[in-house]
């Protein structure tokens, strides 16, 4: 589960709310979304939100933080 408020807010978005989130987040980052790219970016972000929901829901609450370098 997400203890991080920014992450929790993102995970709680409905698909319809992703576009507004994208615009606000892009503005906050100083990362303009070109009009020709906006629809594609929102589609991708919607998919990423669903995928993030999948694995974050499965992450045990007591899972340790990520090591600096992953060892296979």
């Amino acid at each position: 589960m997400a203890a991080d408020p920014a992450l929790a807010t993102f995970l709680d978005l409905s698909d319809d709310a992703v576009a507004a989130y994208a615009d606000a987040r892009a503005e906050a980052l100083g990362l303009p979304l070109p009009p020709a790219a906006r629809a594609g970016v929102i589609d991708n972000l919607t998919l990423l939100r669903r995928q993030a929901e999948t694995f974050i829901a499965a992450l045990p609450v007591d899972a340790p933080g990520a090591a600096k370098a992953f060892e296979p």
């Binding site: 992450l7 990362l31 594609g40 929102i42 993030a52 992450l59 990520a66 992953f70 296979p72």
Partner: protein
């Protein structure tokens, strides 16, 4: 099989049957004859290659020792640094970059072994994709059917070997970019353990997931090239492990135990069967039968691992591109740009969570490997889709080709396990590959299984129509 494997060419050069110059010129002739159809090469290095070939021939004439790949032409995905050449990484943006000041470590090591670098190969922009339909350089076409894709992102690397332009090439694999094109083009590909081969001089995509590895038309060539690139490299912090050559172990008696002795083989079910085309599952069955495998093994958390890799990729990659995404987004391939921009918008916690799941999944898979030496899974969901095809059916739904061809490869690279992709021997049909997955640092087991399958005729890189395998 072609008689012109890398090993054969090197032996012929050493024996004086042919010369390094003749082999290098033959490679350029093959590229000239076939690349306009395949669009595998984006650059050729004629003067460099011929100079090196002449130096090798001079060494041989003088009785000086030459390496095990003496006179063998090879080519690399255009994300590898080549001294004096701009590393374009399939992009428009990088075309303005300064030329590389030295070769990537992998190229240095193959060159030191006598291999002759003849050119650079097409790819998905910045290695983000499974299709090699590059907006700037055009699509690489599948040698087995020019209306179909070669796969990606190392599509040029697979197509160049499958089409007989070179016997050996290098690619990179972050989420499946060696395994998918190897499968769709019908050649052997090795994605080694994360950290096994140096990535110095290979332009990064997702540094925590990036691997490099070879393509070849035989297991022997694949193992030889892999061995020659092994060893620690202080310039890649992940590459610290001493070399553990696999090729000699495939031949020596102790190695024969691996190649011919009993292997405990499992076939992955669950996520790794979901949505696969019938012919893909049929190919898996044939390989499984040949290795007397046990069916229905589950990797707990595979779907979750795939989701984590799917999110970690744009989250991490977008950091590298943030400045260019802010200032010149329209210079990117649109398919790549939209994914990178979306990644940049993710909250930081997504990448952190994706990294935290890695050891959990790694430990779960390690437990499965207590009962198995190797695991089998399909490499790609389907045989090669058409050029320009944007969707495909998976599990009864229309899904994006670009985003789903790697469904079965992503969970494995997420935890850095070694995989040999082997092409089922089915001449006259579109190629289908199978992943042979081994525990971390046990590339030898995957190669041993691949060798056994090759010797039994179950897998083979067969000649595509119109290929120039007479040359190679």
């Amino acid at each position: 099989m072609s008689s012109r494997s890398a090993t054969t060419i090197a032996a012929d050069v050493r024996s004086g049957t042919t010369t390094a110059r003749a082999e290098t010129e033959a490679a350029f002739a093959a590229i000239a004859a076939r690349n306009s159809d395949l669009n595998a090469f984006t650059a050729v290095f004629e003067s460099r290659a011929l100079a090196q070939a002449d130096a090798l021939d001079a060494d041989l004439a003088a009785g000086r020792p030459v390496g095990p790949l003496a006179g063998v032409p090879f080519a690399v995905k255009n994300l590898f640094d080549v001294e004096g050449v701009t590393t374009i990484v399939g992009s428009k943006i990088r075309r303005e970059a300064a030329p590389a000041t030295r070769d990537a470590t992998a190229i240095q090591r193959l060159t030191a072994a006598g291999a002759v670098l003849v050119g650079a190969l097409n790819m998905d922009e910045f290695a983000y994709g499974f299709v090699t339909e590059n907006a700037h350089d055009g699509p690489t076409r599948n040698p087995h059917d020019l209306t179909r894709i070669a796969g990606g992102s190392s599509g040029g690397s697979a197509a160049a070997v499958a089409g007989g332009l070179v016997p050996l090439s290098l690619g990179s694999d972050t989420n499946g970019s060696i395994r998918i094109p190897a499968s769709l083009c019908g050649v052997f590909g090795l994605k080694p353990t994360l950290g096994r081969l140096s990535r110095q001089g290979a332009f990064p995509f997702v540094e925590s997931l990036d691997h490099i590895g070879p393509f070849a038309r035989s297991v022997e060539d694949l193992a030889l090239a892999y061995d020659l690139m092994q060893g620690p490299d202080p310039l890649d912090p992940l590459c610290r492990r001493p070399a553990e050559p696999a090729a000699p172990r495939l031949q020596a008696p102790r190695l024969q135990e691996g190649a011919d002795g009993p292997l405990r083989v499992g076939v992955l079910g669950g996520w790794f069967a979901r949505g696969a085309f019938p012919e893909v599952l049929e190919a898996l069955e044939i390989v499984a039968d040949a290795l007397q495998a046990r069916r229905g093994v589950e990797l707990p958390g595979a779907e979750i691992a795939r989701a984590a890799a799917f999110c970690l990729t744009p989250a991490e990659a977008s950091h590298l591109h943030l400045d260019d995404l802010k200032t010149r987004p329209m210079d990117y391939d649109p398919a790549v740009r939209d994914r990178l921009l979306a990644g940049a918008l993710l909250p930081d916690g997504v990448a952190e969570a994706a990294r935290r799941y890695r050891p959990i999944f790694r430990d779960a898979v390690a437990k499965v490997f207590e009962d198995f030496d190797i695991l089998l899974a399909p490499a790609s969901v389907c045989p090669a889709p058409g050029v320009g095809q944007t969707t495909m059916e998976m599990d009864g739904r229309q899904v994006s080709v670009r985003k789903n061809l790697g469904a079965y490869t992503q969970p494995i690279s997420y935890i850095g396990l070694p995989v040999v992709t082997v092409p089922l021997n089915r001449p006259g049909k579109l190629p289908i590959g199978v992943q042979i997955i081994a525990p971390a640092w046990r590339e030898d087991l995957a190669l041993a299984a691949a060798l056994r399958l090759e010797q039994a005729g179950v897998v083979a890189a067969h000649r595509p129509p119109g290929s120039v395998w007479g040359g190679f």
